[in-house]
Structure formats: structure tokens, C-alpha cells
């Protein structure tokens, strides 16, 4: 029990105290001056406690997660594949670069109306726009990861007469993995954003639809509950990702001398 340790615990507690105080002030303020738009924290939590375990809500969550999983897998797959190709072949990079640079500058929500025209208002549209948004951060990071491979390593591969496929899968992919994973993590939070956006238009389920629907019904505590759930979901997904990352990249962190997180 050194002073430094106590100090550290005290600092940790400080964060919790400030957070609790902020909630307390909100609660007291909302109770003393009842406002339709800012319900007390306890009212929001109470409704969340009632609503979250219902099948209705859980079905919506499942629908959102399904879209996220499908769109994320599709977008990440395309991003990694195209990124490996562009990273390892100069010709492919030169050819695709302007097109990719333009497409990735388009805010992904802008393609939503166009995709609706082609794919309608179903799951296909939602998955497509999620995949579109997820694809680019993964692609860019993959290209960067591959290009950062040391020239000596490239030369060694050439000297050993490794074929293109072998070079990509045995050298570029593992070497670029830390960078790819970093891109995948950015893409995950973008994916969550796109799930919500895609469910704002013409959806009948999903968390995005839930929030918008509760708003249209003026169920304010329910709406806050939906937003809160989304925040928690984003947090949990990020934590899970870090776990997988630690597992997947333990060799890299060890080699780089970084402590495992």
C-alpha cells in the first residue's frame, strides 16, 4: 500500500465520482424542472430495464447485428483483397488509385438513395451501404501495410522465386496484418454508424429504426434508451475487437516489444 498506489486508486475513483456527479446533477435538474425532452436518468434506466429484455427489442438488435456482420464481412473482404492487390502490384495501384481516392471521399450516406433505387428498401441495400463504408479504411490500411514491407524482405521473396500468390499470402499478408487490423477497427465503428443510417430509411426493425420510431411517437425515455444501447454496443464491440486483436497479433506485439494490452 504505497502512497503512489493509493494515489492511483484515488485518481481512478475520481473519474467515477465525476461521472456519478454528472448523472446526479442531471437527475436532480430533471426532477426539479420536469422537461419533456430531458427525462430523469432513472426514468430512462427504468424504461430500458423494461424494454431491453422484450423480444421486440431483441429482434431489432439481432437484425442490426446481422446487417453489421454481413456488411462488415463483405466490406472487409473486398478491402483486404483489393488492398493486397494494390499494395503488391504497382500497376494495379496506379490503375485503381484515382478511382479509389474519389470513391472513398464520398460520404457513404450519399450512396444510400442510389442504392435504394437499385436494391430496394430491403436488407441487401443496408448490407451494401455498410460494406461500401467499411471497405475503404480497410483497403487503405492494407495498401499501407503492404507497402511498408521492408525492401530486403521483398528482395528475399523475389530471390526465393516465390510466386505472386505465395508472396502475398506468406509475406505481405502477415506483415501487413497489424495495419490491416488497425483499419478493421476503424471500420467497425464506421460500420455501426452505417447500420444506424441505413435503418433510418424505410426499415421496420433495427436499432436505428427503433430510435427514430420512438422519437416519432414522442417516447422520449425509450429514445434515450435506444441511444444508450447503441453506445454500449459500440463499446462492447470495440472491447471484443481488442481481445481478438491481442490474440491475433500477440506475436507482433511481442516482436515489437510492446506490452500486451
Amino acid at each position: 500500500m504505497t502512497a503512489a498506489f493509493l494515489n492511483r486508486v484515488g485518481r481512478r475513483l475520481l473519474g467515477a465520482v465525476v461521472f456519478g456527479a454528472a448523472l446526479g446533477i442531471w437527475e436532480a435538474w430533471a426532477r426539479s424542472e420536469p422537461s419533456f425532452l430531458f427525462p430523469p436518468v432513472t426514468a430512462v434506466l427504468e424504461r430500458a430495464w423494461q424494454v431491453w429484455p422484450t423480444t421486440d427489442f431483441l429482434t431489432s438488435v439481432a437484425a442490426s447485428l446481422e446487417r453489421l456482420a454481413a456488411g462488415y464481412a463483405l466490406g472487409a473482404g473486398i478491402g483486404i483483397a483489393a488492398g493486397l492487390l494494390m499494395g503488391s502490384l504497382r500497376a494495379a495501384r496506379r490503375t485503381l488509385e484515382p478511382l479509389v481516392e474519389f470513391l472513398r471521399a464520398v460520404p457513404p450516406v450519399a450512396i444510400v438513395p442510389a442504392v435504394i433505387v437499385v436494391l430496394g428498401l430491403g436488407n441487401g441495400m443496408r448490407i451494401a451501404v455498410i460494406a461500401f463504408a467499411v471497405c475503404f479504411p480497410v483497403l487503405v490500411n492494407t495498401v499501407e501495410g503492404v507497402r511498408a514491407v521492408a525492401p530486403e524482405t521483398r528482395d528475399t521473396a523475389a530471390m526465393l522465386h516465390l510466386g505472386l500468390a505465395e508472396t502475398i499470402f506468406r509475406i505481405y499478408l502477415p506483415a501487413a496484418l497489424p495495419s490491416i487490423v488497425a483499419g478493421l477497427r476503424v471500420a467497425l465503428s464506421i460500420g455501426v454508424i452505417m447500420v444506424v443510417i441505413s435503418e433510418f430509411v424505410g426499415a421496420s426493425d433495427g436499432i436505428g429504426h427503433y430510435i427514430l420510431f420512438q422519437q416519432s411517437q414522442f417516447n422520449v425515455p425509450e429514445m434515450y434508451g435506444g441511444i444508450l444501447f447503441l453506445g454500449l454496443l459500440g463499446y462492447v464491440l470495440n472491447r471484443l475487437f481488442l481481445l481478438v486483436e491481442d490474440h491475433l497479433l500477440s506475436w507482433h506485439f511481442r516482436a515489437a516489444g510492446e506490452p500486451t494490452r
Partner: protein, 253 residues
């Protein structure tokens, strides 16, 4: 140092040409407009001022929201980041608010601020605040202790140290945050316009989709893409200009 990428641009032309032929051959006009029709709509939209007007509206709320976020993010980040106590005190509040996607706040913001400009200003600022704040925090934390000590022994007081030591040290990190925020803010701004359907390029797209005016819809998408591209390029240029002391390698991305 970077010559024009002829092959790449030829490829863009090739893809556009193939699309034109494909749309005409297979009569896909009902789902995808021919690029020539999009170009015509683009020229018309720009010359008549409809498209440029909507872009102006979008840019107005975008610039205001982003500006607000930059100012608030840098000030908060520097103040919080320069004190361990403040950093710990705010840690859980920040960790709690950060993962909430700003787009999820659009319905709430509509209830509070209505459908107009203040609502968009708010959601854009909220979305853009987090990357800037977090990066400023990191940058301020990473400031060289030695510089601080030198400033302290030279008699530079708290606020002076914040402005003349912590701020410049955090600048590269702040710039990264602004770059991330800039594209996020555009995404959230266009989404807010699309959801409310009142004004701006997002609502213009929605109207064109509902009216089934596909060339006009695609022209708006192209314009939005150029807007995003121009913002990226402008920020990268500005970064290189103002942060000339940071290695080129770091800024290349």
C-alpha cells in the same frame, strides 16, 4: 515529386465509358443513369445554381459545426490533457459519451433544435468533437516534459505554457484529429439533411430519389464526392504548409 497518374485517369475514363455502353445496351436507365446524362444534369445543376445552392447550405452548417468542434476540442483537450487530475476526472464521462454514434443523436437533436440549421450545427459539432478532443488529449499528454520544465524555470506561467509549449507540441496530433473529424462531420451533416429532408445536398438527393430523377440524383452524389475530396486535399495541403516541421512520411497518408 508526384507526376500525374495517366493510367489511373484513363482507367476512370474507361470505367465511365463501359458504364455508358452497358446502360445503353441493357437499358438499365431505370436503375442506373448513363454517365452522359449525369454529366448533363451536373452541368445544368451547377449553371442553374440549384446544386451549388444546396452545396452552399450544406457547407454552411458543416463549416460552423466543424469550427465549433475544432475550437472546443482543442481548448478542452489542452486543458484536460495538461493535468493528470483533470484527465482522470473526465475519463469515465469521455469513455461513456465517445462510443455513442452522432447519427443516433439526430432524432433527439430534431426534437430539441427542430429541423433547421441549429440541429445540423449541433450534430456535426458533436460528431466532430470526439476525434479532435481525443487526439488533442494524446498530443498534450505526449508533450515533452523537458520543454515544460524549461518553460517553467524560465518563468512561463500555466496559461503561457499551455499556449506556447503544449499547444505546438500537440499540433500534429490535433491535425490528425481534424482530418478524421472532417470526413465524419460531412457524413453526419449529409445524413441529417437526408433524414429531415428540408435543405442541403442530402435532402436534395432524397427529393431526386423520390421523384425518380436519377441523373440529378447521381449528379448530387458526384458533387458530394468532389466536396469530400476537396476537403481532404485542402486539409492535407494545410497540414503540410503549417506543420512543415513534421516528417513528410507522417503526413503522406
Amino acid at each position: 515529386m508526384k507526376q500525374a497518374n495517366l493510367v489511373g485517369w484513363l482507367f476512370v475514363v474507361l470505367v465511365t465509358g463501359l458504364l455508358e455502353v452497358g446502360v445503353r445496351l441493357f437499358e438499365l436507365r431505370d436503375s442506373v443513369p448513363a454517365p452522359s446524362a449525369v454529366l448533363r444534369a451536373l452541368a445544368e445543376g451547377v449553371s442553374s445554381g440549384t446544386l451549388s445552392g444546396e452545396v452552399g447550405t450544406t457547407l454552411e452548417s458543416y463549416a460552423e459545426g466543424l469550427g465549433l468542434a475544432i475550437a472546443a476540442g482543442i481548448v478542452l483537450g489542452l486543458v484536460i490533457g495538461s493535468s493528470r487530475t483533470l484527465l482522470e476526472a473526465s475519463s469515465i464521462v469521455i469513455e461513456f459519451l465517445r462510443p455513442i454514434p452522432a447519427v443516433a443523436l439526430i432524432p433527439l437533436a430534431i426534437m430539441v433544435f427542430g429541423l433547421g440549421l441549429p440541429m445540423r450545427r449541433f450534430v456535426i459539432a458533436y460528431a466532430a468533437l470526439w476525434p479532435i478532443l481525443i487526439n488533442t488529449l494524446y498530443g498534450a499528454r505526449g508533450a515533452d516534459r523537458l520543454l515544460h520544465d524549461v518553460a517553467r524555470t524560465s518563468g512561463v506561467t500555466g496559461l503561457g505554457r499551455l499556449v506556447s509549449v503544449t499547444f505546438p507540441a500537440a499540433l500534429p496530433s490535433i491535425a490528425t484529429g481534424i482530418r478524421v473529424s472532417a470526413s465524419l462531420a460531412l457524413l453526419v451533416g449529409v445524413t441529417a439533411e437526408l433524414v429531415t429532408g428540408t435543405e442541403g445536398i442530402g435532402s436534395y438527393m432524397q427529393r431526386q430519389q423520390l421523384a425518380y430523377q436519377l441523373p440529378e440524383l447521381y449528379a448530387a452524389i458526384v458533387v458530394t464526392g468532389f466536396l469530400g475530396y476537396a476537403i481532404n486535399v485542402a486539409l492535407r495541403r494545410a497540414e503540410r504548409h503549417f506543420l512543415f516541421w513534421v516528417g513528410e512520411g507522417r503526413l503522406a497518408r
